[in-house]
Symmetry: C2
């Protein structure tokens, strides 16, 4: 029997097939059709049937289907309330996908929740009862494992860790509030700090590499220039790590997880990020013996693998 995982992104939709050992035995990718949600469901159905056929498997051998989206799901698990990158608003996604896979249970979830689930079965959280994933990207995604299962909020509203306050009244956030974790800890926030640092230091390496153009400053460039020893980029990076460490300390003080994993492109900075981060968190956290801080292991496949595991988690 197989589990199908679908990671619906604004550019591509990733499709994956997990076998009973939870190994990813086949996967493919189809472009996201920017037409209607019905078209999207049809594209997914055709893509999955093609993937099964190429693998020599029948639809009858599929035990469950899971899909994740970068957005919020309603408490009944039926509808995508908002997924801005997909332009999905109040889309009955579970029903649309279920129509493509008659007789097979279909579940949907937020992609960061799915990624945390993937880390639980196959990555940084294996063996954990309590664990937290923070994904540092355009936004700040968060997934929580409690009691060895995906935590979808006490009322099933999902988890919006990125929109817990970090600096109440501070930088504006995409959600409309000011000072969310997301507005200080996302890759976007590091780029913002980098732009501010560049304005203050027009002769810096950061300025040179960006050709003096703020549009060329992203989290990667700030990190690279900081690694190269540029004082302006270093200052921006330090401000960022200071705030990220506060967010991590808050997570430990509230949930006391065995493992806190950091995902997203910024993890590529490796120990240049993790070493100062761990030192600051240990200084700020209430307990010296808090859990580990590690890079997430599954990278870009995490959402797809987690989607395939939604059925397994629901039974567990």
């Amino acid at each position: 029997m197989y589990q199908i995982g679908i990671d619906i992104g604004g550019t591509n939709i990733k499709l994956g097939l997990l076998d009973e050992a939870l190994e990813l035995v086949a996967h493919s990718s189809v472009p996201f059709p920017h037409t209607t949600a019905e078209d999207m469901a049809g594209t997914v159905g055709a893509g999955v049937r093609a993937l099964l056929q190429a693998h020599g498997a029948a639809l009858e051998a599929v035990e469950s289907v899971g899909a994740v989206v970068p957005g919020s799901i309603d408490a009944s698990g039926e509808t995508v309330i908002d997924a801005h990158n997909l332009d999905f608003h109040d889309v009955p996604l579970r029903r649309l996908l279920a129509a493509q896979f008659p007789g097979i249970p279909v579940r949907i979830a937020n992609d960061a929740n799915g990624a945390a689930l993937a880390e639980l079965y196959r990555g940084a959280f294996v063996g954990c009862r309590t664990a937290v994933l923070l994904t540092l990207g355009t936004g700040l995604g968060g997934g929580i494992i409690l009691g060895g299962r995906m935590f979808n909020g006490g009322m099933n509203h999902g988890v919006e860790l990125g929109h817990a306050y970090l600096v109440d009244g501070g930088e504006p956030c995409t959600c409309g509030n000011r000072g969310c974790m997301e507005s200080y800890c996302s890759a976007t926030a590091l780029a913002r700090e980098g732009r501010a640092a560049m304005r203050r230091a027009p002769e810096s390496l950061l300025w040179q590499k960006a050709g003096g153009s703020e549009a060329h400053v992203d989290a990667r460039l700030v990190t690279d220039c900081a690694k190269a020893g540029d004082p302006a980029a270093r200052a921006a990076f330090n401000v960022y790590v200071e705030h990220l460490s506060s967010a991590c300390a808050s997570v430990f003080n509230i949930l006391d997880p065995e493992v806190l994993a950091i995902g997203g492109g910024l993890c590529g900075a490796g120990e240049f990020l993790f070493e100062p981060l761990r030192a600051l968190v240990s200084r700020k956290c209430f307990y010296d013996t808090h859990g580990k801080i590690v890079p997430a292991l599954l990278g870009n496949d995490a959402g797809m693998i987690g989607a395939a595991l939604l059925g397994r988690d629901a039974e567990g």
Copy 2:
């Protein structure tokens, strides 16, 4: 059979007897001896034996003993790491109490955790699977119910909700960090805002009532003057409620509890506090359909009742 609950405070130790229906059938109070922890345990043992005798019950009829302290407990549940008001540091409290009650299981916990447990069995959280208690006092205590049981942190380090960040880098906190929820949402924080408001408005009602003395400004006076319409006190109260609403919104965005209960003396302000609080939280929270915000129900007995329930919760 009876459950014994012990709430150890820096002034008094409260002792309570719960019957099988979880009714508080007898209780007493003894002064906290500021000598040694051994003396304290002896005082508790004698107090409990007297309470049982007065109720016509034998020690053999006691099923379990629980004690709560205003401080942090080690992960093994044996030792009070720090309880500043008791001057307890690395005190093996569980063992000291167990020596007073041979053959009876003894458990210890943080008092805010205990209070949350009491609300679960007898108060604002009855029937809840997920709930959060914030106690607004000198500090900010927090207790979390998950899966219908007391959550003591993923690694059993306890929950330090009051030391999640709210304004990273802001007001100094007793824990050594800057900007914890406690430093903006405790009753102490409201008094601080009130003093600042008084300095800015020397002709205010707040100034008159306090006789111009900052030492006379406490959370109660600020609240009373705000209720009376004093603009200076009103401004201080509004700043406080703004921050408290951000803390509550963070709790909803992270844990999505069915009920968030607010305890502590400030609850006496009633709807004057709760009405603007609910309005601000609804504006800030990611979901319109978030859980209820209510006053805690058990008041000063919550810690003692929760202590008595530690055994029941551990079995549950």
